[in-house]
């Protein structure tokens, strides 16, 4: 039996704005945004959203390619994990690719991203090279964090990507801090603070909501709702609608399907624009699904059925959905699909080969990157011992 999933209700993305009148209650207007008129019956209305309509053919192909690259990268990393090349946890993003790719494709110069431990997709989406990403999983010195962070802790501040955080919900106050920094420094930008559906019950998340709303900080909180906080379904963990909790803080909120990249972009564009232009924070719940367990260590046979997974895979796979869309638009053809896939597989293999050939950090590296001062000894101002034995 297929478990009831909230996204059955989300055939059209919804946007809720707090009422501006002080006389009315804080209850959000529950008016769904009308989909743009479609030319053909059954056509995706989000394709006509301005943010998508202006995409060039090449840009659309790149969006598709990015999702495929994430998928192949992770499948390759899973094989490496099974071959015991990778330690610790491996939380795969497979099935959720349209969320990170859709959101991060909207980033401008002063937009920032922070996420939780299921971070491979976001890292590739912001443009990180897959070789150091894979090498980080292998624990190699050539990894993006020199083998010091691992799967859950990817960072690239040069691409405004601030991790990669392991504690559920712990990154959300940092995301508000990024938004604070953008505003304090006078830039026009926004922070996207990603979390899973399990994070919404953490106190730090609510403290962060309050600060963002109280101080009008340009932060868009993105709940990637894949239906399960580890092995506990949404119905068993969270009261009420997840994004609707924004109403308690008088924030705008929205919901959309994360299976359709166009819908993700169309929805997020509205909230990001409000954040950048008017410093308005919001909570957006993007309904998605992961095909793999919570982590590779999850046997995935206790809390959902194989049939449910198969159903998603057949009908809602974000790569398949977008691929079909681009086929119908005449942007992709079978030959190009095959070429992109072949190249993505080759890229993942190259990343694995690079990782395999790379050296591990040495014990001498353990105490590097701890303090700025010890890494920059000529500029050190403090005295005394910083390390102990």
């Amino acid at each position: 039996m297929i478990s009831p999933r909230a996204d059955k209700h989300f055939t059209v993305s919804k946007i809720h704005r707090p009422s501006v009148s002080k006389k009315t209650t804080a209850t959000a207007e529950k008016k769904a945004v009308s989909p743009a008129p479609s030319k053909a019956k059954g056509a995706n209305p989000h394709a006509q959203a301005p943010i998508n309509a202006k995409l060039t053919r090449d840009a659309k192909i790149e969006l598709h390619r990015k999702m495929v690259r994430i998928r192949r990268f992770e499948e390759r990393s899973l094989r490496a994990y099974q071959a015991k090349k990778i330690g610790g946890f491996l939380h795969l993003y497979i099935g959720q690719e349209a969320v990170a790719v859709g959101c991060c494709s909207l980033m401008g110069k002063h937009d920032h991203v922070i996420t939780a431990y299921r971070d491979h997709g976001h890292a590739i989406a912001v443009g990180m090279d897959t070789k150091p990403l894979m090498a980080e999983l292998y624990g190699k010195a050539t990894g993006c964090s020199k083998g010091k962070g691992g799967s859950m802790h990817y960072f690239d501040p040069t691409r405004n990507f601030w991790g990669g955080h392991g504690i559920v919900g712990g990154q959300i106050p940092l995301g508000v801090g990024l938004a604070y920094g953008v505003k304090y420094q006078g830039h026009k930008g926004a922070a996207m603070a990603f979390m899973g559906d399990g994070a919404v019950n953490q106190g730090a998340v609510h403290e962060a909501y309050n600060l963002a709303a109280l101080w009008s900080l340009p932060c868009v909180f993105v709940i990637e709702n894949n239906g399960y906080s580890m092995g506990t379904s949404q119905a068993r963990s969270s009261a009420g609608e997840l994004a609707k909790r924004a109403e308690g803080y008088h924030m705008a909120w929205g919901q959309c399907s994360g299976h359709d990249l166009y819908e993700v972009r169309a929805t997020m564009d509205k909230f990001l624009t409000e954040a950048r232009e008017k410093h308005k924070p919001a909570v957006v719940e993007i309904v998605t699904y992961r095909y793999r367990g919570h982590s590779v260590a999850d046997p995935d046979n206790t809390y959902r059925s194989k049939q449910e997974i198969e159903e998603y895979r057949k009908t809602k796979d974000p790569i398949q959905v977008f691929q079909n869309q681009l086929l119908s638009e005449g942007v992709l053809d079978e030959a190009l699909i095959e070429k992109i896939d072949t190249e993505a597989r080759a890229e993942a293999d190259t990343a694995a080969d690079f990782s395999e050939a790379s050296p591990f950090p040495t014990p001498d590296d353990i105490q590097k990157d701890v303090y700025w001062e010890t890494d920059n000894p000529s500029e050190r101002k403090s005295q005394g011992r910083l390390f102990f034995d």
């Binding site: 993006c144 501040p157 991790g163 959300i172 106050p173 801090g177 730090a204 005295q383 011992r385």
Partner: protein
């Protein structure tokens, strides 16, 4: 040299750094309109405005985490905890995020945040408000921990802390806020990780920091006058980085050590010191290392008894006599 209170000295350090660097912001509960729960930030809102002096809700995990995130972007937040005791509700932010983000990013991200506020017992506020977490904080590589005892040190160390590119946790003391001391005029900087010999002596080294420096100096006067014992008082000032060299130099001179700390004994700062002294100056010691700490129980409320639970001049005196016996 002009005299200022410890509170004024901290305020002057904040004002000078706010003036010097527009990236510095002061945030915390009641720091702006209320002028500070302990009046440390009094007048700063009027001088620097609400963009630089920011009142936060009672929401430590939220606002400390926010400060950490902002610091990653180059803002230099000085966050006030009304009591360091409240660090426990922001523990994940302080010791998972601030302490680890540089390491986990392979050195790509800095976190130039200062978190400051009082951390002390002795004010009859019960166990929840009387924590002294310097040992817990200093147990985390990646952070720096400062505990100033005097007005001049508080000013000079806070200025260093604000300019530091690593996270610095600055532990003050409500019972020191009103203590006056000489503070050098002009730009006064005390580097982190430099201990200070507050009194020279030849018979016993007392290694201490924070308010216990005052107790130790008081006891040292009595020891000299009434017992003809010459005590050297080494004020660590900074816990991490630790100036162990100054401690070892003093041990080599006196050959006897008493550690005095307002800490619970188990795995305290003193435990670390005792390990290091025996390891690095074993041959200099004429006797076992002694320690005077807080009596090992949650902080008692009862006012006269709390005084006895903490180190005080009489307890230091007694412990010093035992250490030289």
């Amino acid at each position: 040299m002009p005299q200022f209170t410890y509170r004024e000295a901290i305020r002057h350090a904040l004002a000078e750094e706010l003036t010097r660097d527009k990236n510095v912001v002061v945030m915390g509960e009641e720091v702006a309109q209320f002028n500070g729960a302990y009046k440390v930030t009094e007048g700063l809102l009027a001088k620097f405005g609400p963009n630089r002096i920011v009142d936060t809700p009672i929401s430590e995990a939220g606002f400390i985490g926010m400060g950490i995130g902002a610091s990653m972007l180059g803002v230099r937040p000085v966050m006030e905890l009304m009591f360091w005791s409240f660090y426990s509700v922001a523990f994940d932010q302080i010791l998972n995020n601030a302490a680890n983000v540089r390491y986990m990013s392979g050195g790509q991200i800095n976190c130039p945040i200062v978190i400051r506020g009082p951390a002390n017992g002795g004010t009859n506020v019960g166990a929840t408000h009387s924590h002294t977490p310097e040992n817990v904080l200093a147990n985390h590589p990646g952070v720096k921990v400062v505990v100033p005892a005097t007005a001049a040190d508080a000013k000079g160390l806070l200025k260093s802390a604000i300019r530091d590119n690593d996270p610095v946790f600055f532990l003050e003391n409500t019972l020191l806020y009103g203590e006056k001391g000489e503070v050098p005029e002009g730009e006064h900087i005390v580097p982190l990780g430099l201990a200070d010999v507050k009194r020279e002596g030849t018979d016993l080294t007392i290694v201490t920091y924070g308010r216990c420096v005052l107790h130790s100096l008081a006891a040292a006067s009595i020891l000299e006058k009434e017992h003809d014992i010459s005590v050297e008082v080494v004020d660590l000032r900074t816990i991490r980085p630790l100036d162990i060299d100054t401690v070892l130099k003093s041990v080599a001179k006196t050959h006897r050590v008493l550690i005095v700390e307002e800490q619970k004994p188990f795995a305290s700062v003193g435990s670390q010191l005792a390990y290091m002294i025996q390891r690095e100056a074993f041959d200099e010691l004429d006797g076992p290392i002694h320690r005077l700490a807080t009596i090992d129980a949650p902080a008692i409320y009862s006012p006269p008894v709390e005084t006895e639970q903490l180190p005080n001049p009489q307890r230091v005196l007694k412990a010093a006599l035992a250490a030289v016996a």
